[in-house]
């Protein structure tokens, strides 16, 4: 599928799961896999790093 931001081709591994982050190799935008049924994948904008993120 294509990057919703810059239209570059996104390479989504077959074993990728819902919740994983996909980064566009061209524009660097991050997307979260919100739905995955077979080869049908839906993406949403990934959250940006928050003040409280970490260990």
């Amino acid at each position: 599928m294509n990057c919703p931001e810059c239209d570059a081709i996104l390479n989504i591994p077959d074993d990728a799961s819902v919740g994983e982050i996909i980064s566009c190799p061209d524009c660097g935008a991050d997307f979260e896999i919100s739905k995955k049924e077979g080869s049908n994948v839906e993406l949403k904008q990934a959250e940006t790093v928050g003040e409280d993120w970490g260990e």
Partner: protein, 285 residues
């Protein structure tokens, strides 16, 4: 066969490793995205099929903490417990508890306004290290080496003025080799450790490019890690220590949702496997 629920908000390598090891041990897993889960005051344990134990693994501290509160409200066993997560997520609470339990920790000064923090620095002298009470990966951690640096940092804090910016946590700068030690514990037992070598600056966070190197757990490290884990309330923790040139080991941080993918590649023991085994043992007690 048991069932382990892994709560996440961003599926990282660690969560997938935990899922894989649970599967390899013959257990079912459920991956639950906290961002799309709804709970209310009438929610009951039976409304959710979360298995025997929940591992809370959110990257957002506040999301994970509040999610844990809702799980404990329904009497669903979760690791780490709310109280442990609450303390470890706040550097001031954690430092106070370490000291209260006589665990060697760097001397730390607390002030509750920039004026008061500046006054304290005038008394104590430079350098001190300023750390945000909430946050991770070394962000916002800065050595204040002189008055100019202090004024710049304090001015920015006064402008942003988020609730946590009003809490000034200033710590002595430890004289040590350019590395620290991370010990991962499960149920008060150290399972693996690494040196985190600075990549140039004074910070040693892996997230900032520090070099991980396997570390043999000495008796002193083990004792210190066990004490720190017990002081926090146990569970699955990442205990950070520095080698003070004069005092020996000092514990400067205990992490609640510990990241381990780097260490897992070189550790002798299987970290995610040990975590799953501990979690299930913990609920069977």
């Amino acid at each position: 066969m048991s069932k382990v629920c892994i709560v996440f908000d961003r599926l990282r390598t660690e969560e997938k490793m935990l899922q894989k090891e649970a599967y390899n041990l013959g257990h079912d897993t459920l991956m639950l995205d906290a961002k799309i889960t709804q709970v209310n005051t009438d929610s009951k344990k039976e409304d959710f099929d979360l298995g025997d134990v929940v591992l809370e693994r959110c990257v957002s501290y506040f999301r994970g903490l509040h999610f844990t509160a809702s799980l404990e409200f329904m009497d669903i066993p979760v690791l780490n417990k709310f109280e442990v997560a609450n303390i470890c997520g706040n550097k001031m609470f954690m430092t106070l508890l370490l000291k209260k339990n006589n665990i060697p920790t760097p001397k730390t000064y607390f002030s509750f306004s920039s004026e008061s923090a500046a006054e304290n620095l005038d008394k104590v002298g430079f350098p001190l290290v300023i750390k945000p009470v909430i946050g991770s990966w070394g962000r916002g951690v800065m050595p204040l080496k002189d008055k100019d640096a202090m004024e710049a940092v304090f001015e920015i804090r006064d402008i942003t003025d988020s609730p946590h910016d009003r809490i000034y946590y200033l710590q002595e700068l430890i004289q040590r080799p350019p590395r620290d030690i991370r010990v991962i514990t499960a149920g008060d037992e150290p399972i693996a450790a690494m040196y985190r070598k600075s990549s140039g600056g004074f910070k040693t966070n892996i997230a900032l490019g520090a070099d991980p190197e396997i570390c043999e757990i000495t008796k002193e490290m083990e004792d210190m890690a066990v004490k720190a884990s017990k002081a926090m309330g146990g569970g699955i923790l990442g205990i950070d220590m520095m080698e003070d040139d004069e005092r020996g080991l000092v514990v400067h941080e205990v992490n609640n949702t510990v990241e381990f993918k780097g260490l897992a590649r070189v550790a002798q023991r299987n970290i995610p496997k040990e975590m799953i085994e501990f979690a299930l043992k913990h609920v069977r007690k």
